[in-house]
């Protein structure tokens, strides 16, 4: 059923339909509405789950870790400083190979304090071994939760995932969202039935220590599982399309790519603005396209280099900065295209909630055409 609803509430409804058995979360702007809505559902018997209230994000994810190891489908949500506080637990969850799904309402990291959107928080956890999905709009944000559970609970994957959507820009925006019904979700998402779980009658420990003789291989196995999850994502996306019509089979998505000379690469809600800017540029005869990166981990190097093979130049929009280096997406795209003759230009854009408008996208295309990149775009020189 098509509903006009707030992004956070749409995500909460999708999570409810996924039937999580344990939810532990700590409210933090702009994630709060999601977990408030879920608490409300549990309190009013619309969702049969244990909702564990905790004193911090560290505890929230720790509670999820235990619950997931005990065999429960588990959910949390956070952002920014909250995710930073989960840092240690994130690595443990992934290393123990627990399929916890966590929504990230992307927000900048302090200091200076900012409650507004960029993608520094989840990008900073890129090395933690979680899958990372990025949504362009609220329809995609809700759908990605079903896909994330389906992929991550596959025994061949057995890894956690972030479903990232831009704080405020999506989380607090009303958009039409097609919600699934329970019977359909149950068809798509079978019960979570892990082979191994914490059980006093049959004791087992998770994440024991590995001596130098084994640790190296554990990291290899983790990396391999994450890379191999690409095939499972593809299958889950195709299956989703078969049942519900919306196609998530690819980890990247092209928009007017075929004859594009300049291709913009971006993640998240900025892709919507970019598509509108492209339409206007196309009307004036400029051959511009977009490649949207939906899955950042595992990084879709092969899909990317195939999709970008025909381009003359690539302009990468990063709502993050690896301080002292460059934007994370630009760095990885350069790596994926190493050896090809395509020029890659990186632009740091929209940090801490700075609006990105169609004119900004057009200006970036002009900069890329002039060969100017690897810059902070739109700096206010008068305050520097």
């Amino acid at each position: 059923m098509l509903e006009i609803t707030e992004g956070s509430l749409a995500v909460a409804e999708a999570v409810r339909l996924c039937r999580p058995q344990v939810i532990a979360a700590y409210p933090i702007t702009p994630q709060t509405h999601i977990v408030e809505a879920l608490a409300d559902m549990v309190a009013n018997c619309k969702l049969d789950a244990d909702y564990i209230t905790v004193e911090s994000e560290f505890s929230a994810l720790s509670a999820c870790l235990g619950a997931s190891a005990a065999g429960s489908r588990t959910y949390s949500a956070t952002t920014s400083q909250g995710l930073a506080l989960m840092f240690e637990v994130c690595f443990n969850v992934a290393g123990m190979r627990l399929p916890i799904i966590m929504t990230i309402a992307n927000r900048a990291l302090g200091a200076p304090l900012s409650i507004w959107n960029d993608q520094q928080d989840s990008i900073s956890l890129r090395d933690s071994g979680w899958l990372q999905f990025y949504a362009e709009d609220n329809q995609e944000a809700t759908d990605l939760h079903y896909i994330a559970y389906r992929v991550c609970e596959d025994p061949a994957v057995a890894l956690p995932a972030f479903v990232c959507f831009d704080g405020f820009i999506l989380s607090h925006t009303y958009e039409p969202v097609e919600q699934l019904n329970q019977a359909d979700v149950d068809k798509y998402l079978p019960k979570f039935a892990p082979k191994e779980r914490l059980d006093a009658a049959d004791p087992i420990s998770f994440g024991m220590y590995a001596t130098p003789e084994y640790y190296h291989e554990f990291r290899y196995a983790h990396d391999k599982a994450l890379k191999d999850s690409a095939a499972v994502i593809k299958k889950a996306g195709e299956e989703f399309k078969k049942l519900f019509g919306r196609d998530y089979g690819a980890m990247v998505e092209g928009y007017l790519l075929d004859d594009a000379e300049t291709v913009i690469v971006a993640m998240g809600s900025i892709c919507g603005t970019t598509k509108d800017a492209i339409d206007e540029m196309r009307a004036t005869g400029k051959k511009v396209g977009l490649l949207k990166v939906r899955v950042f981990r595992p990084f879709p190097s092969e899909e990317l280099s195939k999709a970008l093979a025909g381009a003359k130049r690539i302009a990468v929009l990063d709502k993050n900065i690896s301080l002292g280096s460059k934007g994370a997406l630009a760095l990885e795209i350069r790596d994926a295209l190493y050896g090809s003759r395509v020029s890659v230009f990186g632009y740091i854009i929209g940090l801490g909630g700075r609006d990105v408008r169609k004119k900004d996208i057009k200006e970036i295309v002009a900069l890329a055409e002039k060969g100017q990149g690897d810059i902070f775009y739109g700096l206010r020189k008068e305050v520097l």
Partner: protein, 86 residues
């Protein structure tokens, strides 16, 4: 040993971790000097020193980390630590 997904383990699995590889100094037991008092066995934090049927105390070098507590505490100075070449 094949890797378990998520480094999951049944009870008793710690025995698989052969901590002897951590060792830099290896204790050498002089059974002539040994008075069989058993202090080394009591003090060993790894619990890897055992008494054989002749009453001799012998460390299990698969697990001995070379901490040297046994040599330090031995009243008969029957245990000496020697740097191990690997």
């Amino acid at each position: 040993m094949a890797l378990a997904v998520g480094c999951r383990a049944r009870p008793g699995k710690a025995r698989d971790n052969k901590t002897g590889s951590w060792r830099v100094f290896k204790p050498s037991f002089d059974h002539e000097k040994c008075t069989q008092c058993g202090t080394c066995k009591t003090i060993c934090p790894e619990g890897c020193i055992s008494e054989d049927t002749d009453g001799k105390f012998i460390p299990d070098y698969q697990y001995c980390k070379g901490c040297g507590l046994c040599a330090e505490e031995c009243p008969g100075e029957a245990i000496t630590m020697k740097q191990e070449e690997k």
